[in-house]
Symmetry: C2
Subunit: 409 residues, 2 copies
Amino acid sequence: MDITALTRRRMLQVGGGGGAASLAVMAGGRAFAQSRGVSVEGQPLPEGVNFPETPPRQRRADSVGIAVVGLGDYALNQMMPRFDQAERVHVAALVSGNRDKLRRVGEAYRVPIGSRYTYDTFDQIAQNDGVDAVYIVLPSGLHAEWTERAFAAGKHVLCEKPMALNPAECERMIAAGRRAGRKLMIAYRVHFEPHNVRAMELMREGAVGDLRALRAEQANVFERTTPSENWRLNSALAGESPLEDLGIYGLQAALYLSGEMPESISAQSFRPAGDPRFAQIAASMSSQLRFPSGAIAQLATSYDSLGNNFVDAHGTKGAILLDPATSYSGQTLKVDGGEGRPPRMLTPGDPEQQFAGELDHFASAIRDDSKIIVPGEMGLRDVRLITAINLSARERQTVRLNSDGTVRG
Amino acid sequence: MDITALTRRRMLQVGGGGGAASLAVMAGGRAFAQSRGVSVEGQPLPEGVNFPETPPRQRRADSVGIAVVGLGDYALNQMMPRFDQAERVHVAALVSGNRDKLRRVGEAYRVPIGSRYTYDTFDQIAQNDGVDAVYIVLPSGLHAEWTERAFAAGKHVLCEKPMALNPAECERMIAAGRRAGRKLMIAYRVHFEPHNVRAMELMREGAVGDLRALRAEQANVFERTTPSENWRLNSALAGESPLEDLGIYGLQAALYLSGEMPESISAQSFRPAGDPRFAQIAASMSSQLRFPSGAIAQLATSYDSLGNNFVDAHGTKGAILLDPATSYSGQTLKVDGGEGRPPRMLTPGDPEQQFAGELDHFASAIRDDSKIIVPGEMGLRDVRLITAINLSARERQTVRLNSDGTVRG
């Protein structure tokens, strides 16, 4: 059996960091192809992790205890340090295949030994009453299976994007949550980022008039690496192109800025011949989405094009530009009101609030039964659209869609 | 017979001013539909025309005498004032249907009474030895017919873009020029604009590495008007969408920056229901072009979206942004060399050189038999691509192309 280490390199902060984890997976062999690999082996601690210098703050009585599944770069460097900025969450357990890392991270975050699990012992988490919920921050291809295992253990689930690699997996995840009577939220952090939230409001308020053209690109250049070294290049774990993990931000933006679902999609993928990085997935995916209003979204994403992360909406009366749009920090929001007036730069808040905002939204859903604005159904919707884009690119034809994102017969 | 005055409003300077003319055309009736209207009636002098305050400078012995056909806003406000910036051209004759305007413009540019023609007397220009060439600056739908008449009169032709509204017309124009043994150049002024010329050089030098994504939008919002009031909204004169007159700049840029011809096209047009402006043509056209190298161009153009005129090329190692890209003046060129270095702004020259550069290029072709870099064959190529984009939008399907831009059977 071919167990190959996956190393995770630090990516440009262009918003592609969600869903990261350090795991070794079975990258070849029949068993892997059939089950999409559960066999996981811990990776060393990523370089450059800053552990908290002070103990976690006093937690509220109703704080939600979360088990973090996958201790990779995004978990350790982005999400976990932000738990203390949220009101009602705390790190209650850790799951990793590397016992040394488990110990070091456990000590840094004051997670008791009894709440540190390996992938082999994960199912025992069902007996841990301190764990209310599980945060799945594994490679995309593993989301479905570990979400189902978390629900089987009676926990709520916060799952990284993309929800999964095909609609059937998403439907299984939603069904598992319903059976368990537990919440399922997709970790779409940008819905809690002030510049994006303000852009959504501006669009609803008609700031651009009638929307005509939406453009987005999320791109970066991957270092020389291979599908066995980096899960994002591995089709079983990452899907068919950068769209699943990176371009999904632009796709999401097209939906939350337009407030519509596309009625047709034309897509083109590209794979540079002979490039070992792109032996399994396409390097780029470009798509054109037509909305019922007539607005057109032109989206591009690539792992082989200069770092770029913008979202741009033009309408009959104005324009909105987010650049960078979906990064961890540094967002800018420019609004052009037309009529020759100079564009305005808006600063609606600190972009880094997005992490805590996401966590507290999840906590409220669990504690107050409040509505999740980024539920599993949204994850399913987006995976349907990704599937349609992949289909259009593969068949080199325009694909027509039903209003739920399924492909029209 | 329904003779309707076409008024030409001053457009936002987003590069859509080429090919303008003040004409009244038969906008309805069978005669018009059959012949696409030759019957023309002079329009008043556009508002805000600045005539030259000094007489034309001493002309060189080999200066090319040009008859300007169509005295609209673009001819009077952009091109004619730039003749004196060129080395080897002069305004030798004028053609207009409005005798008062003919007199006033003729006096301002010192064009003798005997060299002022109406559309009815145009064919007499054959006997005017002071006229070497004809500059066709009429609505697009009239280019073919007046180009053929100019060749029949034995003159060289500089014809505004788009060359014509379908490939058959372009082929007739090219054949007429060959029969007459006269030059045919398309007035693609941007090929003489220093920022665009520098961008072409940078692309050839590999400044972006391997090209991955090209984006362009050329858009503006038309005032409330109708197809009978404005030729650009009249399908017989303007084609099927803003692509023919305005979006052609982005299409051209995709070709001259990539150095390639697309192998397939997916396009989407949009016409807002009940809007009297868009009774005949689409308001917007969005297209996605796939090049053999794998680069994708995403183009958008609209007469109903906030003023926008940019061209953006991203590759594996860098990016180039022209914004505005194809306007009469004000171009900026930003080059991002990647690797975290700040982008550089380049100032390769005065954008307003483009008009004189275009005129002198034409003069050289006539006097020195030098090669035309924007010949009728390029105009035909682009009209083929416009035809393919229109076809894709109409049929809502991806269209595959031969390397000459014709649609693959």
